[in-house]
Amino acid sequence: MNKQVLVIGGGPAGLEAAGQLENLGYKAYIVEKSDKLGGHLLKWDRLFPESISAAETLQKLLEPVGHITTFLDCTVVSVSKTGEHFSVQLSNDATLNVSAIIVSAGFSLFPAEKKEEYGYNIYNRVITSADLEDFFKTGSDSRIQNPKSVGFVHCVGSRDEKACNRQCSKVCCITAVKQACEIKEQYPDADIYCFYMDLRMYGRGYEDLYLEAQSKYGIRFIRGRVSEVAEDETGKLVIKAEDTLSSKPLKITLDLLVLMVGMIKNADNENLSSLLNTRLGDDGFFQSASPILRSTEGEIAGIFFAGASTGPKTLPESINEAKASALAIHGYLSKQK
């Protein structure tokens, strides 16, 4: 019988890993805690930097996993390792005996309410990047009413020790630039501002999009973190920040404020890591055996990682890591008798 591998988390990394493992001749099981495969990709409309359709991308990721056994609305309850085998009990009472486990449990979005000063869920016209992406996808959000001025706040819940997240979430800078261009396309008369601390345009095509955002879409970038948000008497948002390039406090009235919520650890990472007997880093993401040479492998033989379970990653990074992880499992299982 084929060796079996459990994939924890049915987001892009999990799907890719499961597909690759099947190709390599293993039997993969996917455990997904929500009721749908696809993870955060489900909520995206178009993907940066080239505006590729998220739905089509997900469709392609789902194709090879059609026949893979998938447990939805399901979590891992207990794991015990005997020799080289893991016995995994699931919340639906199923028990799986597998030779390896991939943790592709992903990340959570920072709850924007935690940054009280930004007034998410308090002021009517404050939304998150996820809300905006949903608006692009569905075309409706009662908070977006033909805005004439829109602000984007970068690093909401990222690089913020007070929000208990020191890490950079990697994708928000480019997402903000992408969304700024998209909203400008929908509302060509709107003035659009991005409030940033650093612009991290590290990926291929990111800098081009940034330049296009400036020169083609006229998006204005203000280096400074928004300090507080309030409503004026008409319900418009009054935003305060420091313009650090001119060393002066700055105020602007906006119709819409988009909070670029960061990627944070899953709340249940701690539980999962104790079940798997693995370690978490200070940031609450899973710790791999070595950050450079063995980034997809756990310290315990047979445990592997893919995607944002080991820290914020872009989609192509997660998918590549899933491939790498599948290959690492193949190497590991081939050595077993």
Binding site: R223, S246, P249, L250, K251
Partner: protein, 109 residues
Amino acid sequence: MIDFGYSLTSSSRISLDNINQKKLKKITAVEPDFLKCMACGSCAASCSAGNFTKVNLRMVILLLNRGMEKEAIALIEGCMLCGKCTLVCPRGINTRNLIINILKIYKEV
């Protein structure tokens, strides 16, 4: 009016609500490169005039975007138009045309 020996101090705060969008649109129309600045400071670092006085194109672009026109003009009227900034600008901004037009649009003579 009573003199109390102290008075209201004007706020140093920038208000983006009150900036002259018309002028900004004008300068963007005559030199679209105005939008391309990423505030690296190469222009100011290499500036011939900046060697002697406080000419700083990077700051001028910023200040105009923040509606601080007078302050911006004070930082550009010493420009000698030598073109070094055009050469060093990593984004190829046509700085000389920008400067000429900033002075034209923003400086009252």
